[in-house]
């Protein structure tokens, strides 16, 4: 089943529905979602709260289970993919353990997955370098700024070298200046590692700046209203955000969001 060519679908959703049973009755979080994500793509999910973007990401990570339809990750079910360590997940809050050092936090998944000591140390050094935190391994989380903590949590997700990186509003709680820098670094990281990235965000500029593919979603029920393949080059300096192309894409995203809103 597993196809290793460059354009093979890594994540494929067909007719996906997900209904939450709540005290107020069933809530349709995802309705008829069809989406294909290819290897090495950077895909952003954007939409207002309740549009199901986080739910979709969680479904890929097997943290939620679809009610109907099919969802495959690397050609497997999400549960199987998890067992094969197919993805690393970055949450909105860094969620580092305060009782562990930065290196200790990054080792957490490695310990659970049973890597040996030497390999743990090697990988910690490698991913710390990747997120530009070399030399901070012995520090405790409270000694780092919010941005650095989030970088450490990205390092933790990268430590076991999964092909897919799922990021759920990772920079949502950070100020704009730090956010710009981390966006730049995320792109660099993506270029260096060639991972497939799924990225949930509220911010239109962030989505346009980062993505090769932008998935616009709208709420009640959560569904995809537009999928935009970005014509921007892979190499993206921050200034690209003032270019005509960038503004056009941002405009189209905004239109998509507004259209989703009007249909209510």
């Amino acid at each position: 089943m597993k196809d290793t060519t460059n354009s093979a679908p890594v994540i494929e959703a067909k007719g996906l529905n997900l209904v939450f049973q709540t005290a107020d009755g069933p809530v349709q979080a995802l309705k008829d979602v069809n989406l294909t994500i290819n290897r090495g793509e950077f895909v952003s999910f954007i939409g207002p709260s309740g549009c199901g973007k986080t739910t979709f990401l969680r479904a890929i990570a097997a943290l939620e289970h679809p009610t109907s339809g099919t969802l495959t990750v690397n050609g497997m079910t999400p549960d199987e993919a998890r067992r094969k360590r197919a993805y690393g997940y970055v949450f909105q809050a860094a969620g580092l353990y305060p009782w562990r050092t930065i290196a200790g936090n990054i080792k957490l998944p490695l310990e659970i997955m049973g890597f040996d000591r030497a390999e743990q140390d090697r990988r910690v050094a490698q991913v710390l370098d990747l997120v530009e935190l070399s030399g901070f391994g012995k520090k405790f989380p409270w000694q780092l700024s919010g941005g650095m903590q989030q970088r450490a949590s990205i390092a933790r997700a990268l430590a076991f070298d999964a092909d897919i990186l799922l990021m759920d509003e990772p920079f949502g709680a950070l100020d704009e200046i730090v956010r710009d820098r981390l966006n730049e670094e995320t792109l660099k990281l993506w270029a260096r590692t060639g991972k497939t990235i799924g990225f949930v965000t509220h911010s239109i500029p962030e989505a346009v700046y980062l993505s090769t593919k932008i998935v616009v979603m709208s709420p009640r029920p959560g569904r995809i209203t537009d999928v935009i393949d970005s014509p921007l080059p892979k190499e993206r300096p921050l200034e690209i955000r003032d270019s005509r192309e960038f503004i056009e894409i941002a405009h189209r995203v905004r239109e998509g969001l507004r259209a989703g809103h009007h249909e209510e």
């Binding site: 097997a62 949450f91 009782w99 050092t101 997955m113």
Partner: protein, 307 residues
């Protein structure tokens, strides 16, 4: 400074109260002797009674000092100047730890407290783990744990002692430790349950994405996350252990331990003995809490908490 002010205030109130309470006896004596005492004559007489209703601080202090046998121990040390130093130390320690002294009784109580404390921690932690792990335990055991604390320990203590002697346990340490543990397991249990449940959903989801099993979740996340709660509960638990041990020493017919001293003091109408034992217990409690505080600080440092 504020501490000293409060202390001074307490002393003043205490002195006033002992004058007032002990004056009855002075007036009584005077009436029987057919004499009159003025207020100025009465006051000094309230300070030096052999069996005062409320002994004034200096009498309690003197009794406590004598009971601790530190001053007289120092004298033993000085008097034996012609002997080798090890013998001198030995003689001094023998004197201080003599069965007549409060240090010895305090040590007996301390030993009971530690056994009960250890038992309480063990029992409380294990129960907490079971409660967090199994919903059935949560629903069945937790209410009983709470009910257990509403039963007055003074009522329960004699029963525990009777039962344990029925079971052929002649050793008094066992029922004492059980009573002590009965009081100290509860704060540990409540805090540990809270601590083990403190990780939020995001933390649990994170471990799920690593495919972590229940054992890993417990060892890597729940247990370390519960440690601050655990240490906070230790201070309460150690104090409860001490109270439990002292209560356990009251009806055991024990002749050793601070609780036994208190009982002897009250039964034989020797308030000074009782008060000295009371203060010895307070000192012991203070030392225990300081010790737990030090352990907690060391643990916090290891777990990377900012100083």
């Amino acid at each position: 400074m504020p501490v000293l002010t409060v202390l001074g205030l307490i002393l003043v109130i205490w002195y006033a109260a002992s004058v007032w309470m002990n004056s009855t006896w002075v007036y009584d004596q005077a009436e029987r002797a057919g004499t009159m005492v003025s207020f100025a004559e009465m006051v000094p007489q309230t300070m030096t009674q052999e069996r005062p209703l409320l002994p004034p601080p200096h009498q309690v202090g003197a009794e406590l000092w004598e009971g601790l046998r530190l001053g007289s121990g120092y004298e033993v040390f000085l008097q034996s100047a012609d002997q080798p130093i090890l013998d001198r130390l030995q003689a001094t320690l023998d004197h201080v730890f003599s069965k007549k002294g409060l240090v010895y009784h305090g040590y007996v109580t301390f030993k009971g407290t530690m056994m009960g404390f250890g038992l309480g921690i063990l029992f409380g932690s294990l129960l907490a783990m079971a409660i967090v792990r199994f919903r059935v335990m949560d629903m069945s055991v937790m209410p009983w744990a709470i009910i257990s604390q509403t039963i007055p320990i003074v009522a329960l203590a004699p029963m525990i002692i009777t039962v344990s002697s029925q079971m052929g346990l002649t050793d008094r340490d066992v029922p004492k430790a059980v009573i002590s543990a009965y009081l100290s397991f509860f704060p540990v249990l409540v805090s540990m349950v809270k601590g083990l449940r403190s990780p939020d959903q995001m933390q649990l989801d994170l471990l799920k994405t690593y495919g972590a099993g229940e054992g890993a979740v417990f060892l890597k996340l729940r247990l370390p996350a519960s440690m601050p709660y655990f240490f906070a509960s230790l201070k309460v638990a150690v104090a409860a252990s001490l109270v439990g041990t002292i209560v356990g020493e009251l009806p055991t017919g024990a002749i050793e331990g601070l609780g036994a001293r208190m009982l002897i003091g009250s039964q034989f109408g020797e308030p000074l003995i009782m008060w000295a034992a009371l203060f010895a217990a307070a000192i012991l409690a203070g030392l225990l809490i300081v010790a737990v505080g030090i352990v907690e600080r060391l643990a916090r440092k290891r777990m990377g908490v900012p100083a």
